[in-house]
């Protein structure tokens, strides 16, 4: 993979065999090779997969809705309006309330949007923390052998031999349930996967010639690690990052479902589903909409990840 600075430069290959006098060849057919930037080829292959694009569009739409929530709906997410829910009965979807109302008369469409905000925020920030912890540790473990590697491996064993779902539940039950705690817990318990991934990649790349060459050229170790080896590991990492975000969103909604995640009146999809369980017969839409939103978000993330993976090494498929 060439990482030429000049994109789309047309570099005739003639110059390579300069030993022989340049031949006068009118048919340039065999030798012209447009050299595209690495990422543009990836993106071109990415667009060939319809589900990749579909995922991108859906995710973009969800993020837009989450951010532009105040503009999209006139209601606030915690505005109680008893007229909209006479006798505590949630109302079906109608013109003013797109997704209907919940038992306190709050507009359900607004709550779904703001719930999206919470879930996406938790998903992205939890994975960000995981990456922040995981990747540096992976680099250190992978590159500098010796005690650092051993220490980190034992640390990974410690975390991986603990049942993470169990511990996430435990810590959340003990801490005061709030968004920050959920992010912290999901972040702290998920990073071992990335460390293991980066470390194994580093181990295989360390022996490669280009690293020896860089070392021979006298580059400082830090530049070798971050400028040469790391870019190689990032691209295959994208898939597990997108799946990780999906996973974080799912576990957040699972926690809220058990009442350990977000507390009222902050809307979260998991809590809305838990609340809606009571009305499955009389008001089924209360549980359908948030469930759909969770599935759509996680699905689009998975599709993007998969399409990207296939774009990186088409041979794999």
């Amino acid at each position: 993979m060439y990482l030429f600075k000049k994109k789309h430069a047309e570099i005739p290959l003639k110059r390579i065999n300069s030993a022989v006098d340049p031949m006068q060849d009118d048919e340039d057919l065999y030798f012209s090779a447009k050299v595209e930037g690495y990422w543009t080829t990836i993106f071109k292959r990415f667009c060939r997969h319809w589900y990749g694009i579909a995922g991108l569009i859906v995710l973009a739409a969800l993020i837009f809705c989450a951010i532009a929530a105040p503009v999209l709906t006139p209601y606030e997410y915690d505005k109680i309006d008893f007229s909209a829910a006479p006798m505590g009965q949630p109302q079906p979807p109608s013109r003013e309330h797109l997704f209907g109302t919940d038992r306190l008369g709050r507009d359900y469409f607004t709550r779904c949007l703001y719930g999206g905000r919470i879930s996406l925020l938790i998903g992205f920030s939890a994975v960000a923390i995981q990456l922040l912890i995981g990747i540096p540790l992976g680099c250190i473990a992978g590159y500098y052998r010796g005690i650092a590697d051993q220490l980190i491996c034992r640390f990974i064993d410690f975390f991986s031999c603990v049942p993470s779902t169990f511990l996430i539940l435990l810590v959340n039950a003990l801490l005061k349930p709030s968004m920050f705690n959920v992010i912290l817990v999901l972040g702290v318990f998920g990073w071992t996967g990335y460390t293991r991934f980066v470390r194994s990649y580093f181990l295989s790349l360390r022996e490669q010639e280009f690293v020896q060459a860089a070392k021979a050229a006298g580059l400082k170790e830090r530049t070798i690690v971050f400028k040469h080896i790391l870019p190689h590991t990032l691209t295959p990492l994208i898939l597990s990052v997108s799946m990780g975000i999906g996973g974080a969103i799912l576990s957040e909604s699972g926690l809220s479902y058990l009442g350990l995640g977000m507390q009222e009146p902050i809307p979260s999809w998991g809590a809305m589903i838990a609340g809606a369980q009571e009305y499955t017969n009389s008001a089924p839409w209360l549980s359908v909409f948030p469930g759909l939103m969770i599935t759509l978000t996680v699905l689009s993330l998975c599709f993007i990840g998969e399409a990207f993976r296939q774009a990186i090494d088409p041979r794999a498929n």
């Binding site: 065999n17 030993a19 057919l29 065999y30």
Partner: protein, 327 residues
């Protein structure tokens, strides 16, 4: 009547944008007990040809059709897949290039050897083990009994190639196809393996189709040479003639490119350009764009393989007459 006769073999691959024709109208034949070398740059379709004879190509991507492939007079294309196993390993057997991955890493050498023997001869386990031990001794592996219980990863590359050869010869095939047997090995081992193959063929009067890109090996082991370029045979002759009077510019260029002590101080000769991808094969002579002797006709009309005397076949409008390799 030749042992193996291949007429108008065409092999194509289902690429992203249509069928890429890798081998076009290839025909050749191999006499009994003769050693024929198939030479060419990598990517000219030689190992694909070997695989298609044994019908080992996986058909969805690959696409193979031939007028006829006669083995001892019978067209093996008609044999249904269910019965192909009778032919493979028994009449025709094959050695591959990469010894490191050609043996199953999780089963013992013994099992992989006896598997073949019992499949074809149907003898008991004990007999098969004894036969396997003899074969290993024949290919020169020390203490064969112990080796039978070992796993492939406990052996060196050369040793594994010997096991492959033992496996191939275990059922006394009539034709042995060796697909670049020595490329993956280092030089010292190469000679031993080549010698081993040559002896085996001579002793067992077994025909050999040796596929390689290294002219040195051809000189040692082969009786007849076929030079392939871009899916076609461009020159076919006995070993002696090929080395003495390479008529086709491509063969000529190849032989000149061999660095020898005779040319000290001179610049290496390199055939310019690269092998074109099958999509861009020109209608006319495929070597024309890279040929120094290309005349006007070469770019217009496709030459055919003709015999210009003494069994020397050429596919060229403007062959180099009497040209000596190191002229």
């Amino acid at each position: 009547m030749s042992l193996l006769e291949v007429n108008k073999l065409n092999i194509g691959f289902q690429g992203g944008d249509g069928l890429m024709n890798v081998v076009t109208d290839l025909s050749f034949d191999i006499e009994e007990g003769k050693a024929v070398a198939l030479v060419g740059e990598s990517g000219c379709g030689k190992s694909v040809t070997a695989l298609s004879i044994m019908r080992l190509l996986i058909c969805p991507p690959a696409h193979m059709e031939a007028e006829s492939i006669l083995f001892e007079g019978k067209d093996i294309q008609q044999i249904p897949e269910r019965h192909m196993w009778k032919l493979r390993g028994n009449d025709i057997s094959m050695i591959f290039q990469e010894p490191m991955t050609s043996l199953n890493p999780v089963t013992t050498i013994g099992k992989q050897l006896t598997e073949t023997i019992r499949q074809h001869t149907g003898c008991s386990k004990k007999e098969a083990l004894a036969k396997a031990e003899d074969m290993l001794r024949e290919v020169g592996i020390p203490e064969p009994k112990q080796r039978l219980r070992e796993y492939p990863h406990q052996m060196s590359g050369g040793m594994r190639q010997r096991v492959m050869i033992a496996m191939a010869l275990s059922c006394d095939p009539k034709l042995l196809i060796a697909d670049e047997p020595t490329t993956a090995l280092d030089v010292t081992i190469q000679d031993q393996i080549l010698e081993l193959i040559a002896d085996a063929c001579r002793r067992r009067k077994m025909a050999l189709l040796l596929i390689t890109h290294n002219m040195g090996i051809v000189a040692e082991a082969a009786d007849e040479v076929m030079v392939m370029y871009a899916g076609q045979i461009v020159e076919k002759a006995s070993v002696q003639e090929i080395f003495d009077t390479p008529m086709h510019p491509y063969t000529n260029g190849m032989l000149r490119a061999i660095p020898g002590t005779a040319h000290t101080g001179e610049e290496f000769y390199v055939i310019r350009g690269r092998v074109p991808s099958p999509l861009f094969f020109s209608k006319a002579c495929r070597f024309a764009p890279r040929c120094d002797h290309a005349c006007e006709r070469c770019h217009k009309e496709a030459p055919q393989l003709q015999d210009i005397g003494g069994g020397h076949y050429i596919r060229c409008w403007n062959p180099i007459k009497g040209g000596n390799a190191n002229e």
